[in-house]
C-alpha cells in the first residue's frame, strides 16, 4: 500500500490522468496507509463534536453505567447552581469542579466511542462517493438498450457495460469477458479478469470495466449491494452488541446496582454516626465506584476491534463473528496458496544406473530452457545453482509444449538433440514405443518420490544418431511458505489446532503436513469431506474457522463458525461466509483469530483495571467524608491527601482522566502475544490487576498535590 495522498485517515489513490473523469470513482482503500493514525486531528475534531451530541439521554440509555454518571452530573450541576449564592468561594469552587469533572467523565467516554467510530465514518463517506448514482444501460426484452439510473435497477435486469464504464450493481456476468478494476473495493490496483460462467463471474457494483464489453445480470437490489453492506459495516451504524459484550454489560450493570445500594445505604449509617453527607459528595463517591472506566470504553473497544479487521482489509459481517474468531480451536487451512506456494519446485535430480546427477541436471536444464512455468523455471534455477550448468543461448531451438496427448514437454535443439520431461508412465510408454530401454530401477525411484509427497518428472535425452535414453528423475516438491511452522507453533501455544486441507493423495499430504508442522490433514478432500470434518469438529465442541472461495465451498463456509470468503470468490461463497477478505489472502485467517482474541483481552483487562481502581478510591474518599466528624478515620487516609475536599476532587478527576488516558489502549487493544492462556493471564493480571490497584494510589496523590497547590479547594 503506497503513495496515498493523505487528506484524512482514508488513502485516496493518485489520479493518473490529467483530467478528472467524472465516471471514474475515486480510488478508496480500506486499509489506512502507514502515515495515518487513529489519532488523526480531523477524527479528533469530529469526535469532540460527536461527544457532545451523544449527551442526549436517549443515546446514553444504551449504556446504563454512563447514564448514571450523566444523571449525577445533572444533579451536581443543579446543586451547584442552587447553593451558589449561599456558599463561600471555596465551596463553590469545590462543587463547581466536581460537577465539571463529572461532565468530563461522560464526555470523555462519549469521545472514546466517537473516536472509535471516526475512522469507520470517514471510510464510509469515501465509499459513498463510489456508490454515487451511475447510469445503467439495461437491455430490454426486445434487445434495445434503455438508460436508467442505477438506483432503479431490479433483480434480474440485464445491464450492458463497456470498457471505461462503472458496473451499476452487483451481479453475475452472463455474456463476455472483461478486465475489471476492483480497486474501489479492495484497494488492489491490478485489474482482475471476470468472465461469464464458472467461479469468476461475480462482479461488484461500483467497480469499473477496463476492457471489452460484458452483460451483467443484476443480483442485488440497490441499497442491498455489497458496497452498501460494506458502508454500513465500516460505519458501525448497524452495530449490535456481541455476546461477550452483552454478558459483560450485565455484570457491569450488576456492579453498578451494588454500588448504588452501598452508597444509598451509607447515608443512613452516616446519619446514625452523626456525619450526614452532602448529596454532592455521595454522587461523587458513587461515580468513582461504579465501573466508569470500562463502562465508558466498552463500546469503543468493540468498534475498534471491528476497525482493526477493516484495517486488515477484512469485512466482518457481524461483531459476533469477530468474537467467534477469538474462540476458534480448529483452523482449516487449504494447502495450496495458504501453507505452500502452490507451485512445485525442483528439489533434486536423481540419476539412474548409468547416469550421474549432473548429467540429469544438464538434460533437465536443456528440456526446460523455454519453459516459463514455475516448475520449469525452478529446474533451471536448481541446475544452475547446484551444478553450475550454464544457460546457453540456442536461437534455433524449438520448444515442444506440453499437450494433453503427449503429457510431456521439452526442446528440440539446433544440433538435433531432443530432450523431453514428463510424467513417468507417459514417458515410459513413449520410450518403449520408440524402441528405447527403460532401466529397471526407474519404477522404484518414481514410487519413492511419490511416497515422499513430491512429484516425479522423468527426463529423457536423444543425442543425434542414438536412441532415447532415460537420464533420471527430477523431484518436484511443493514448497512450504517460510515461517509457516513458527505460526503453527504459535497457534498451538494458543490452543488452536490446524488442519491442512488438500486434494493430494494421503502420502503427499502427510509429507507436506509434516514439513509445515500442522497438527492434522485431510487428504483427497472433497467439499463433502470438508463439511463432514467441520461437523465432526463441532460435535466435539470445537469452533472451526476456514476460508473458501468457490461455490462448492459455500455450505462449509456457512457451517464453519468463522467462514472467511475470498473477495475473488463467487457471490455464493461471499453470502455464505461471515467475513470477506478483500485481499483474498487465506493466510489472513491467523490474523483474524488474533484480532478476535485481542478484542476480548482488551475488554477483560480494562474491566479488571476498572474494578481494581476502586480500592484506592475508597481510601481517598471514605476518610475524607468522615474524618471531619470522626477524626479517628483519618488514619485510613493512607495517601495523606491534603484535605477532605482535595481528596474527593482528586478521586473524581482521576476517574475522569483515566478514561481519556486509556482511549489509546482501548482503540489499539492490549498487547497481543501468541502464548498459552496461563501466561497471558499472568501477564495481564499483573499489569491490569495489580497495576489497577497501584496506579490510582499514585495518580490520586499526584492530582491531590496539584489541586492543593493550586488552592482550588
Amino acid at each position: 500500500m503506497t503513495t496515498p495522498i493523505s487528506t484524512s485517515a482514508i488513502a485516496i489513490g493518485p489520479i493518473t490522468s490529467g483530467t478528472i473523469d467524472p465516471q471514474r470513482p475515486p480510488k478508496v482503500r480500506l486499509r489506512a496507509s502507514g502515515t495515518t493514525s487513529i489519532f488523526d486531528p480531523k477524527i479528533i475534531r469530529s469526535a469532540s463534536l460527536d461527544a457532545l451530541r451523544k449527551l442526549n439521554p436517549a443515546v446514553m440509555a444504551k449504556n446504563p453505567v454512563m447514564l448514571i454518571v450523566e444523571l449525577g452530573s445533572v444533579v451536581t450541576t443543579l446543586l451547584f447552581i442552587r447553593d451558589f449564592g449561599d456558599s463561600n468561594a471555596q465551596t463553590n469552587a469545590f462543587s463547581g469542579l466536581i460537577a465539571a469533572f463529572l461532565w468530563f467523565t461522560v464526555l470523555f467516554a462519549n469521545f472514546a466511542e466517537a473516536m472509535a467510530e471516526g475512522r469507520g465514518k470517514a471510510q464510509a463517506a469515501a465509499l459513498r462517493q463510489t456508490r454515487a448514482d451511475t447510469v445503467a444501460k439495461v437491455r430490454t426484452a426486445d434487445g434495445s438498450i434503455e438508460e436508467r439510473p442505477s438506483s432503479s435497477l431490479d433483480i434480474g435486469d440485464l445491464c450492458v457495460v463497456v470498457a471505461g464504464e462503472v458496473i451499476p450493481g452487483d451481479g453475475d456476468i452472463v455474456e463476455g469477458i472483461a478486465l475489471v478494476d476492483e480497486s474501489a473495493i479492495t484497494g488492489e490496483s491490478a485489474p482482475v479478469i471476470r468472465e461469464s460462467g464458472g467461479d469468476r463471474s461475480a462482479v461488484t457494483g461500483g467497480t469499473r470495466v477496463l476492457s471489452d464489453e460484458i452483460v451483467v445480470r443484476i443480483t442485488a437490489r440497490p441499497g442491498e449491494t455489497f458496497l452498501d453492506r460494506m458502508i454500513a459495516l465500516v460505519e458501525g451504524s448497524q452495530r449490535q452488541k456481541t455476546p461477550n459484550e452483552i454478558a459483560l454489560s450485565i455484570l457491569l450493570s450488576g456492579l453498578t446496582i451494588i454500588f448504588v445500594l452501598a452508597v444509598m445505604t451509607l447515608q443512613p449509617f452516616a446519619i446514625y454516626s452523626g456525619a450526614e453527607q452532602p448529596i454532592l459528595v455521595l454522587i461523587a463517591l458513587l461515580v468513582c465506584l461504579i465501573p466508569t472506566t470500562i463502562g465508558g470504553l466498552l463500546s469503543a473497544i468493540g468498534i475498534a476491534g471491528m476497525d482493526r479487521l477493516v484495517q486488515r482489509n477484512v469485512l466482518a459481517m457481524s461483531g459476533r463473528a469477530v468474537e467467534a474468531a477469538g474462540d476458534v480451536t480448529t483452523l482449516l487451512l487449504d494447502k495450496t496458496g495458504t501453507i505452500t506456494f502452490g507451485s512445485r519446485q525442483a528439489a533434486e535430480f536423481i540419476p539412474v544406473t548409468n547416469t550421474t546427477a549432473t548429467e540429469v541436471a544438464e538434460s533437465a536444464l536443456a528440456s526446460s530452457l523455454a519453459d516459463e512455468t514455475p516448475e520449469g523455471r525452478s529446474i533451471v534455477e536448481l541446475a544452475v545453482r547446484d551444478f553450475g550448468h550454464a544457460v546457453t543461448d540456442d536461437p534455433g531451438s524449438v520448444m515442444v509444449p506440453f499437450t494433453a496427448q503427449t503429457r510431456m514437454s521439452g526442446m528440440d535443439l539446433t544440433n538435433g538433440r531432443l530432450v523431453r520431461k514428463g510424467a513417468a508412465d507417459s514417458i515410459r510408454q513413449f520410450v518403449i514405443a520408440e524402441g528405447g530401454q527403460v532401466p529397471l530401477e526407474l519404477g522404484p525411484i518414481v514410487d519413492q518420490v511419490s511416497r515422499e509427497g513430491a512429484t516425479p518428472l522423468v527426463v529423457i535425452d536423444l543425442q543425434p544418431g542414438a536412441s532415447w535414453r532415460v537420464m533420471g528423475v527430477v523431484r518436484l516438491k511443493d514448497t512450504v511458505k517460510p515461517g509457516m511452522r513458527e505460526r503453527f507453533d504459535e497457534l498451538r501455544a494458543m490452543g488452536i489446532r490446524t488442519v491442512m486441507i488438500t486434494g493430494d493423495n494421503p502420502f503427499t499430504a502427510a509429507a507436506i503436513a509434516a514439513e509445515a508442522g500442522v497438527d492434522d490433514f485431510l487428504a483427497e478432500a472433497t467439499p463433502e469431506h470438508k463439511m463432514a470434518l467441520i461437523r465432526r469438529e463441532q460435535a466435539g465442541g470445537n469452533l472451526v474457522a476456514m476460508t473458501g472461495d468457490g461455490t462448492n465451498d459455500a455450505p462449509a463456509l456457512a457451517q464453519a463458525d468463522v467462514g472467511v470468503a475470498m473477495n475473488t470468490g463467487t457471490q455464493a461463497a461471499k453470502e455464505a461466509g461471515n467475513m470477506v477478505d478483500l485481499d483474498s489472502n487465506p493466510t489472513k485467517l491467523i490474523e483474524i483469530v488474533a484480532v478476535g482474541k485481542q478484542l476480548l483481552m482488551t475488554r477483560g483487562s480494562l474491566t479488571t483495571f476498572s474494578i481494581a481502581n476502586d480500592v484506592a478510591k475508597y481510601f481517598a474518599i471514605i476518610p475524607a467524608m468522615f474524618s471531619g466528624v470522626l477524626p479517628e478515620l483519618e488514619s485510613l487516609n493512607v495517601m495523606r491527601l491534603d484535605s477532605p475536599r482535595s481528596a474527593i476532587l482528586s478521586a473524581v478527576i482521576f476517574n475522569a482522566l483515566i478514561i481519556i488516558g486509556l482511549v489509546p489502549l482501548a482503540l489499539k487493544g492490549v498487547k497481543f502475544r501468541a502464548e498459552a492462556a496461563s501466561s497471558v493471564l499472568r501477564r495481564n493480571l499483573l499489569m491490569y490487576g495489580l497495576g489497577g490497584v497501584v496506579v490510582p494510589f499514585a495518580a490520586i496523590k499526584i492530582i491531590d498535590v496539584i489541586v492543593s497547590t493550586l488552592g482550588v479547594s
Binding site: 456525619a275 477469538g326 474462540d327 483481552m601 483487562s605 470522626l630 492462556a677
Partner: protein
Amino acid sequence: MSWQNLVQALVLVAMLVVAVPLLGRYIAAVYGARDDGTAPGDRLFGPVEAGIYRIARVDPKRDQRWSVYATALMAFSLVSLLALYTLQRLQGVLALNPTDRASVQPLRAFNTAVSFVTNTNWQWYSGEVSMSHLTQMLGLAVQNFVSAGAGMAVVVAVIRGITRTGSLNLGNFWVDLTRGVVRILIPLSLVFAVVLITQGVVQNFDGHTVATTIDASTGVTEQLIPGGPQASQQAIKLLGTNGGGFYNANSAHPFENPNGFTNMMEIFALLLIPFAFTVAFGRLVKDRRQARLLIGVMAGILIVFSGFTMLAEQNGNPGLSALGVDQSISTEQSGGNLEGKEIRFGAAGCGLFAGATTGTSTGAVNCMHDSFTPLGGLAPMLHMMFGEISPGGVGVGLMGLLVLALLTVFVAGLMVGRTPEFLGKKIQASEMKLVTLYILAMPFALLPFAAASVLIDSANTFQPGPHGLSEVLYNYASTANNNGSAFAYQGTGTQWYTVTQGLSMLMARFFTIIPALAIGGSLAAKPRVPETSGTLPTHTPLFAMLLVGVVVVVAGLTFFPALALGPILEHLSL
C-alpha cells in the same frame, strides 16, 4: 496463642484431612458417581427410601428440569414453613411440653419457621424458655435435617449441570433430598450424638430438675436445671451447619458443649460435610485438581479469619492493658479478652469456633460474639459478608463458591482472549445474568434492612455508637447469609426485627438457590468445549489467588463504607 491452642488446631486439621476425603468419596457415590447406578448402602437404605417414595408418591426415576427442581424445593420449603409455624402456634396444647410452654406469638413463630426452613437458625428466643420438647424435636430438629438435605440437593443439581451435556434435566429433588438425609445426615448424626452423650451432653425428656442452692445468702434458694432431648439435636445442629441451639447459650452451654474435647469435635462436625462436598464435587465432575483448588481457597479464607479472631481475642482489650491489667496467658489464667467467654474454651478456643461457625453458615456459638474486641468482631462479620463460602453451609457453601468461580472465570477468561469457560462449559450472557442476580441477593438482603434499622427509632434496641452499628450489621449479615449467629445484645423479638430478618433470611436462601439452579440448567444444556492450552486453567494457584481476590473485592467494595463506620471506627476509637 498458647502451644495448646496450636496443638488443638493442628489436631482438628489432622482429623479433617483424614475424614474429609473418606466422606467425600461416600457422598459422591450417594449422589451417583458410580457408573453402574448403585450407591453405598443400597441394601440397608434402599428399602427405607423406596418406602418413602411410595408414601410420597414420587417416581425416583423421573428427572426434573431446573425449574421443576426449583419448584419442588420451593413447595417443600413452603410446606415445611407452614408445618413449623403451625406447630409453634399450637405447642401450648400439644404433648411433650413438660415445662408448660405457651404457644409462640404469630410474628415470632413466622421468624423461627423461616429461620429453620432456610437453614439459618437465627434465634430470637431462648430455647429452654420458649419451645416445648415437641417443637424442638418434631419441628426444629426435623428442619435441621431436611433444610440441610435440601441445600445438599441443590449443589448436587448444580454439579449435574456441569457434568451433563445437551440435557435439560438436573435430577430429581425428592430423591436427592431423601438420599442426603437418609444416607448421610442421619447416620452421621447418630454416631455423633452418641459421642456427645458419652461426654455428658444431656438426652432425656425431662422438664426442669429443681436443685437447692448451697448458699442461700444470694437470695436464690432453688435453681431450675433444664433437660431435654438435646444430644440428638446438637449433632445435626453442627453436622447440618444449622446452628440453632437447644438452649439459649448454644454451644457455650455446658449441656451442649461440656469440655474441650467436645468443643473440638463440634468444630470438626460443622466443617466436615461442607469440605467433604468439595471432594465429592471433584469426583462427580472427574476433576480432582479443581476440587483441591476449591478446598484450598475455602481453607485459606477460613484459616485467615479464624486465626485473626483467635489472635485478636487472645491479645485482649487494649483499654484494659492501658490500665495495667494482665491479659497474658499463664498457668494462672487463659488470658485474652474474656468478656462473654467460657473459661473452659479460652479466648483462642472461642476465636476458632467463631471462625468455623461464620465460615460455614452454621451460627452456633460457644461465646458471646458481641463481646469480641472490635477487630475480633469484624472478622466473623466480614467472614459472613464474603458470602459463606469458606467452606459455607452444607451444599450451599460449595454452590456459592462455584458461582463466584464462574464470575472469576468470566473476567479472567476475557483477559486471555476467549469466551470464558469453566470445566468445559462456556460462561455467556445467560449465565452472567444469573451470576449477577446471585451476587445481588446478599447485599440486598443485608444493607437496606440494616440502613432502615439505624434510622427507625423503634428498632433502636442496640448499643449507642459504632458498636451499635456493628450489632445491626452483624445481625443482618447473619440473616442475609443464613448463618444465624448474633451480636446478641440487640433485642430481636420485636415486630420490626422478626419481620425484616425473616424477609432477609428468605431472600438470602431462595434468591441464591433459584439463580444457582438456573445456572445448572443452563450449563446442562451446553456442549463441553475441549480443553486446550488456550483454555484458562482453573486449577492453578494463580486462579486460586484470583478467586480469592474476586471474593475479597466484591465483599470489600460492597461493605467497606459500612464497616468503616462500625467495627473499624470502633477499633480506631479504642
